[in-house]
């Protein structure tokens, strides 16, 4: 091992940086800190005791040092708890994603089985089977892309190239793109907009990903006849976009975690839908990276409205 490496190992800051942890949550920093405090306190208490022989002062110093050590130790425990929690989240996530991947994989496998079995298949049936395979395949691609985006956001932050974007144009294009899917799920998407909505500065790919995620969610969580209303409003120095659906809504207990990554509804058994639990995390990163704000309100069985505001250039 060369000197560089030894130095790296011993330097708590670089250790903490490597794992991307704040130093006040990082055991590699907090342990040596706690140790140094103890040594300094012991030595200085000795000198102070020799200098001023009054026991009250010494007792006071010992008590305050002990209090300080309790705080540092508390931080260490918290740090470990955080690490354990992240670890658990990751394994849960691996579980959920593998399950999410398994469904389209099974779809492809079984559709091929079926095609093999059908001897005289008509060309119409053949096309239908191929559509099924394609749909499953698309779903896998989207899931893997979301995963890669999240990994990238975590490692290097979001790389955004802001440009002037007219939101009404983007939304109109999306409504056309979603026409087929929306019809298939018996959902109508409308856009209400004020006349002169100025352009906003945002990354083109980012806003497209965000709008896709929000519209996908609105369709996905709406049963029976759906109505998705998108509104564009100019609000002083920002443009506000609202996406309202009349879907199943977000349960109270889930509201605070909705933008966290890997989060899916508490009870995935009942609320299983296609999804990775990454869409809204990506959406939030895009908006906040562009100095905007994002939020939502929701009532169970009534519907959900997601909104975001972006500064006008």
């Amino acid at each position: 091992m060369d000197k560089e490496k030894i130095y790296q190992k011993l330097n708590p800051f670089s250790q903490c940086q490597k794992y991307n942890i704040n130093i006040w949550q990082c055991p590699s920093f907090l342990f040596p800190l706690s140790g140094s405090i103890t040594i300094v306190a012991m030595v200085s208490t000795y000198f102070i005791a020799v200098e001023y022989a009054r026991p009250e002062i010494v007792a006071l110093i010992v008590i305050s040092v002990a209090a300080l050590l309790i705080i540092v130790n508390y931080l260490i425990t918290k740090g470990f708890e955080n690490l354990a929690q992240t670890n658990q989240l990751k394994s849960e996530f691996v579980n959920i994603t593998s399950h999410q991947l398994r469904t389209p994989l099974t779809g492809i496998k079984w559709t091929i089985d079926l095609m093999r079995k059908s001897k005289d298949i008509t060309s119409e049936e053949l096309l239908e089977r191929l559509d099924d395979i394609e749909e499953s395949n698309q779903r896998m691609i989207k899931l893997v892309n979301d995963l890669l985006h999240v990994a990238k956001i975590e490692q290097e932050g979001l790389t955004l190239n802001p440009e002037n974007i007219f939101l009404n144009k983007i939304i109109n294009d999306l409504i056309k793109e979603y026409e087929l899917l929306a019809n298939a799920s018996n959902t109508k998407i409308t856009l209400e907009t004020e006349l002169d909505i100025p352009p906003v500065k945002i990354d083109a790919q980012g806003i497209s990903m965000l709008m896709h995620n929000l519209i996908d969610n609105a369709i996905k969580y709406t049963k029976e006849e759906g109505l998705i209303k998108i509104r564009l409003i100019k609000k002083r120095k920002t443009v506000r976009c609202e996406i309202e659906d009349n879907g199943v809504g977000i349960p109270e207990m889930d509201k605070k975690s909705i933008f966290k990554k890997f989060f899916r509804n508490q009870n995935i058994m009942k609320h299983q839908t296609v999804g990775s639990g990454l869409g809204l995390f990506i959406a939030k990163s895009v908006i906040e990276g562009s100095n905007g704000k994002i939020g939502f309100w929701s009532k169970e069985n009534k519907g959900t409205t997601f909104w975001f505001e972006l500064p006008i250039n």
Partner: protein, 122 residues
Amino acid sequence: MKKILFIEDEPTLQKAIGRYLEQEGYEIENALDGELGIEMAKKDKPDLILLDIILPKKDGFEVLKELKEDEGTKNIPVIILTNLESDSNVEKALSLGATTYLVKANYNLEEISKKIKETLSQ
């Protein structure tokens, strides 16, 4: 003709199994969620039920429990067909009275059809 009820919320999987088993000479009925599944099982009295675990409205365990508690449906064999894989789930399903527990991704339709045939002939 033997009647099979498939309780599954994924249209692609429903279609694939449904068409395959129809060609094998079974009559297939589909239910898209747990509640509907229970209702159809009670009404139509199928000869066998294929049951997913992750389902809207009522999950597969709840469905299984209700089916086994009902006099009219408790003797219908239930094969769990899911992509959830864990020993605790298998144990839970079997203790609730499921006949077999199959992980979807690990079986092709021929093998599933064979399991159905075996179960029906028992």
